[in-house]
């Protein structure tokens, strides 16, 4: 059977074995030309577009919102349209290892059923068979799913989607009930005790029923993937951290108003940290089985999140780039994030991460290391004592104690602090003018206050002044 040209996805992210086909832009069986946008794939880090590799008739192998393994083509392009009713198009594949569907192009041994041999007798009393023989099946196409009537009704009643049963050839009421109750699927009949391959997913631990009513909110694939990655990070490291307080007179503001740099604290930290990582390679490494794997590149990941999801954009070879280059690159990456145009290459291969909460007001925090890394730097917000020109902010280094220790972390942080202070000394100017006292929230000058009772107060967060109207929430 001519299976045509398969449309394969590239593996872009070391983390992803499974992605989601979020959208088809062409119909099943539609004629496409090379380069046409045919589908969108959602990975744990970004959405990827898929283009048709050549001209022909495109046939789906999966439907929208299905999970796909990266080793499988998402479809085929055939030179001729396939007649209706043909057996070519196969079903949703199962990712369940136990169902062993085999590849679509080669006959390969598939389900091996443990079956008693001739002469083996089934013993009703004990429910035991004699010794087993194996039946060997070889097939090359998948099963088309069928759902019984009662199963369909149950699914509708309990609002259970068909996705739970992808890979199951026949779906019965009892299979649906298993999902509903979270119990393992009971054997379909009391006669059979020994298992055949293809037992429905058992092993779902029964949830504890809390007495407080809840609403189920499914977590996005990205969030789940993020969780998986962090879990990996925690599992493979012995996390520890150290913090250092940096004095400042308003580094952040100064940076932003500097026409030359026109940049952010983030870019500066990336720049300085990159150079320091050459001095402290233990923080640009990964631990595996008692060995430190030192990365030869310094690719710094910078966490961004505007509320639509946390992503870490990666700037490569930061130790080789100038501050200007880093600033420009960071800006481009942030724009790409905002416009949802990040490519997988832009969010992968990081060796060190910076989590910059300097604009959030958070004083200090312990950031979590990402999977495959040995350290992460967290930057806190500037804190000002009211009335004082001098403020401080905290930088925290989370690190893997298998690779380094508190002393090295302290050295790293102090070095970084000095670099930043040095920079500050170069550019910070005195910016506060008595005549230009303004509310840091609403921007009213003292002259714009509505009445004599209104007043301004020095503020640490946000730094500067606040008018009483803002403090009262009257804006």
């Amino acid at each position: 059977m001519n299976m045509g040209v398969p449309i394969l996805l590239e593996r872009d992210n070391v983390n992803d074995d499974v992605v989601v086909l979020s959208h088809w832009f062409v119909k099943d069986g539609e004629m496409v030309e090379p380069g046409r946008l045919i589908a969108e794939i959602e990975t744990s880090k970004a959405n990827v577009e898929v283009l048709a590799p050549e001209a022909g008739y495109l046939y789906w192998r999966f439907i929208e919102n299905e999970e796909i393994s990266l080793s499988e083509p998402i479809g085929h392009i055939l030179p001729e349209p396939v007649p209706v009713g043909s057996l070519l198009v196969s079903s949703p594949k199962s990712l369940n290892a136990s169902s062993e569907q085999g590849s679509t192009s080669i006959l390969s041994p598939v389900a091996v059923i443990d079956v008693p041999p001739a002469g083996g007798k089934y013993d009703q009393a004990s429910g035991n068979w004699g010794e087993k023989t194996r039946l060997i099946f070889s097939s090359s196409t998948g099963y088309t799913q069928q759902i019984s009537r009662s199963a369909q009704e149950l699914m509708k009643a309990h609002n259970i989607s068909e996705k739970h049963f992808s890979g199951m050839a026949l779906v019965r009421a009892e299979d649906v009930l298993a999902i509903v109750h979270g119990k393992p699927v009971a054997a379909a009949s009391s006669v059979r005790k020994e298992s055949a391959v293809g037992k429905a997913t058992a092993g779902k631990a029964s949830r504890e029923q809390s007495s407080v009513p809840v609403t189920e909110v499914p977590l996005s694939r990205m969030k789940k993937s993020e969780a998986r990655s962090l879990a990996e990070g925690v599992k493979n490291t012995i996390p520890s951290s150290a913090s250092v307080t940096c004095l400042t007179r308003g580094l952040r503001t100064a940076l932003e108003s500097d026409s030359v740099v026109a940049g952010s604290l983030g870019a500066l930290v990336i720049y300085e940290a990159a150079r320091l990582l050459r001095k402290y390679p233990g923080f640009n490494a990964n631990h595996r089985s008692g060995v430190m794997l030192r990365y030869e590149q310094v690719n710094i990941g910078y966490a961004v999140d505007d509320g639509r999801g946390l992503k870490v954009v990666v700037l490569r070879d930061c130790d080789q780039k100038s501050l200007g280059e880093i600033t420009a690159e960071l800006r481009d990456l942030v724009f790409a994030y905002l416009e949802d145009k990040l490519t997988p290459a832009q969010i992968s291969d990081g060796t060190f991460t910076i989590s910059d909460l300097s604009g959030s007001g958070v004083s200090s925090f312990v950031p979590l290391m990402s999977e495959g890394q040995g350290a992460i730097l967290g930057v806190g917000s500037e804190q000002f004592i009211p009335g004082s020109k001098d403020g401080f902010y905290t930088i925290t280094l989370g690190f893997d104690h298998q690779l380094s220790e508190g002393r090295t972390a302290a050295l790293f942080l102090n070095d970084l602090k000095d670099r930043l202070l040095n920079y500050e000394k170069a550019i910070v100017k005195e910016i506060y003018d008595a005549e230009v006292i303004a509310c840091a929230r609403c921007g009213r000058g003292s002259a714009d206050l509505p009445d004599a009772k209104s007043y301004m107060v020095r503020s640490a967060v946000p730094p500067g002044y606040l008018c009483n109207l803002c403090m009262a929430g009257l804006g």
Partner: protein
């Protein structure tokens, strides 16, 4: 003398069975044997010793055979009336040997080497219809068959006056067959006329009927002679050999003692051989592997049968098709054979309506090395051919100790649901299942019939009955399974088809042939409406059954529902149930079969009588009621 010695041995208890002596008729065999060439064939009946010995002189071998010894010409399997050696055959079924002989003669005609076949019948045989069917065919198709009728005036105990109307020779003459006659009291003339007869058949390649008047001096078999003593005595006096003892003792006595001695030695030699003791064994079943059935084109069953036959005929010149109305452009009652007669001129032949004779003819063709594929138009008619199947085709290989085999294919459609009524809708295969030495296949539309026929005809070595199904003829051959299932087939030459799903099944439904479509409907309904997961086994080989493989599948669920279109009593499903139960009494089994009555023509009633999806679903639910 041989015969007399046999009678003596019989009374001494040194023989098995009975003997039908030809004392008094010996000259017939001599006259014929005198003129035959080695590749001419003699086909005789129960009274065959004279014919055999005249040709071969193999006294020890025949003694040994009748005494049940390994050294016997058929290893003691055939005994007195079933012999096969040096192109001399015999069978104990009188009329049936005639069409078989005609078939051998037909093969000789095709070989075109000038050989002929001689068949010996008696006047009693003229009661059998098979004789007339065969004479009709032999004459019409110009077969080199010499029919020698030994007219001894009696059929066992019944005088010809009671059995025979009209005149003996008028019968073949009515079919346009040349006739001659002679008698055993003028042996010189008999031998000469017989020579003329043999020559004529050899040269004209047309049949000839020779009546030999004679008399059987001893009983039909043994001690069952109620003929009048005077009549018998009169013939003893007339007998040349007998009277020669008195008139020419100087010739007869030395001859007699020489022959007696020879007979003594022959008997002794025979008795030195051990008694036959070997049982037939069957090979153990091989384990099966399962392959997904993939069928690309979707053609109708009837076209796939045609394709299989055509391919096979292209590859093997020995394959011939015989049947009623099979030549093109009519192409068969169900249009299976289509234009094959035009593609293979002379190898596809319309026959008269003579199921017995055409099957017998096919047996003869097969014995002589052709590979006939014979169509019986409706399965309901197959009982007309049953004698040829059971007493000839099935037995030749065994009783002739593997000196011959019958690579015959009989194909016929069975099944109802067309409103054809009681005699055109039946599933009668059960009456022909289980005959040792044969195999029975049943087609269905989930495994390509072309593959089945090609596989069968490439390796045909035993008589095979292929059951087709009338309603299935119009169905498309495809491996489309219900959603959630796939079709697999086993690795046997005639595979078991298996509709399998990944979910562990609650029960297995086993059926064959046309019932598959009802079973598929039932499986769909069982799942969708009742959440019951049933798998389907549909073997293409229904005798002998690959029971171990079937058992291994059934044991997964422990429940088996058997479905057949025929009647349940002693039917296919009864056999499967018995064989499964014998091996594993833990399996729960139920059967669905035809209602115990004849099949009416009125369609709605017919559909109630025959098993349908609703009944299958009901029984499946009953079977699984303990879930």
């Amino acid at each position: 003398m041989f015969e007399q010695r046999l009678l003596k041995l019989f009374s001494e208890g040194r023989l098995f069975g009975t003997v039908h002596t030809c004392i008094g008729q010996e000259w017939t065999g001599v006259a014929v044997a005198e003129h035959l060439q080695p590749s001419d064939v003699i086909f005789s009946n129960h009274r065959c010793h004279g014919h055999y010995l005249a040709r071969t002189g193999n006294f020890p071998g025949l003694f040994a055979e009748i005494m049940g010894r390994e050294a016997g010409i058929c290893k003691g399997r055939g005994g007195s009336q079933h012999i096969c050696d040096a192109n001399v055959f015999s069978n104990g079924i009188q009329g049936g040997i005639v069409p078989v002989s005609a078939g051998i003669a037909y093969a000789q005609k095709i070989e075109n080497e000038g050989d002929i076949t001689v068949v010996f019948i008696g006047d009693g045989t003229l009661g059998e219809g098979a004789v007339y069917e065969s004479l009709n065919l032999a004459s019409m198709w110009g077969l080199p068959l010499l029919v020698v009728l030994e007219n001894n005036l009696y059929a066992q105990s019944t005088s010809q006056r009671q059995t025979l109307s009209g005149d003996i020779l008028s019968r073949p003459q009515a079919f346009g067959i040349a006739t001659m006659h002679g008698n055993t009291w003028e042996p010189g003339e008999l031998i000469a006329s017989m020579g003329q007869a043999v020559r004529q058949v050899r040269e004209t390649r047309r049949p000839l009927f020779f009546r030999v008047d004679t008399y059987r001096l001893m009983a039909h078999s043994k001690s069952d002679d109620d003929r009048s003593r005077e009549e018998v005595e009169g013939y003893w006096q007339k007998d040349l050999l007998h009277s020669a003892r008195e008139t020419h003792p100087e010739i007869m006595e030395p001859l007699t003692s020489e022959l007696e001695q020879m007979l003594d030695e022959a008997v002794a030699q025979a008795e030195r051989s051990p008694l036959s003791a070997e049982l037939e064994t069957s090979l153990p079943e091989l384990p099966a592997t399962w392959t997904e059935t993939l069928i690309e084109d979707k053609e109708r069953v009837v076209n796939r049968i045609y394709a299989g036959l055509r391919t096979s005929m292209e590859q093997d010149e020995r394959i011939m098709l015989l049947g009623e109305d099979i030549e093109g452009p009519y192409g068969g009652a169900f249009k299976v054979t289509k234009d094959l007669s035009q593609l293979f001129p002379g190898r596809v032949r319309n026959t008269p309506i003579s199921e017995l004779a055409i099957t017998g003819l096919s047996n003869g063709l097969a014995l002589r090395g052709m590979h006939p594929v014979t169509e019986i138009m409706f399965g309901d008619f197959i009982m007309l051919a049953a004698d040829q199947w059971i007493n000839h085709a099935a037995k030749f290989q065994y009783m002739y100790a593997n000196q011959a085999n019958v690579p015959l294919v009989l194909r016929t459609p069975m099944g109802g649901k067309r409103g054809y009524g009681p005699t055109h809708s039946q599933s009668l295969e059960k009456h022909l299942l289980g005959v040792p030495g044969t195999q029975v296949l049943a087609l269905h539309n989930r495994y390509d019939p072309a593959l089945l026929y090609e596989s069968l005809l490439k390796n045909i070595d035993k008589p095979t009955l292929v059951i087709e199904n009338k309603v299935l003829y119009g169905e498309k051959v495809s491996a489309e399974a219900l959603d959630g299932y796939k079709w697999f087939h086993s690795s046997h030459p005639f595979p078991i088809s298996y509709m399998h799903t990944e979910t562990p099944a609650d029960l297995i439904i086993l059926c064959m042939g046309g019932m598959l479509s009802e079973v598929e409907k039932a499986v769909a309904q069982l799942f969708i409406e009742h959440d019951v997961v049933a798998e389907v086994i549909c073997p293409t080989q229904i005798f002998p059954l690959q029971i171990e493989v079937i058992l291994s599948l059934v044991q997964q669920s422990g429940r088996l529902l058997l479905v057949e279109e025929g009647h349940g009593f002693c039917g296919f499903t009864a056999e499967v149930l018995a064989e499964i139960y014998e091996r594993d009494p833990g399996i729960r089994i139920r059967r669905v079969y035809s209602h115990s009555q004849h099949i009416p023509s009125s369609k709605p009633l017919e559909l109630e009588v025959l098993p349908n999806a609703a009944r299958i679903v009901r029984d499946a639910l009953v079977l699984g009621a303990d879930r």
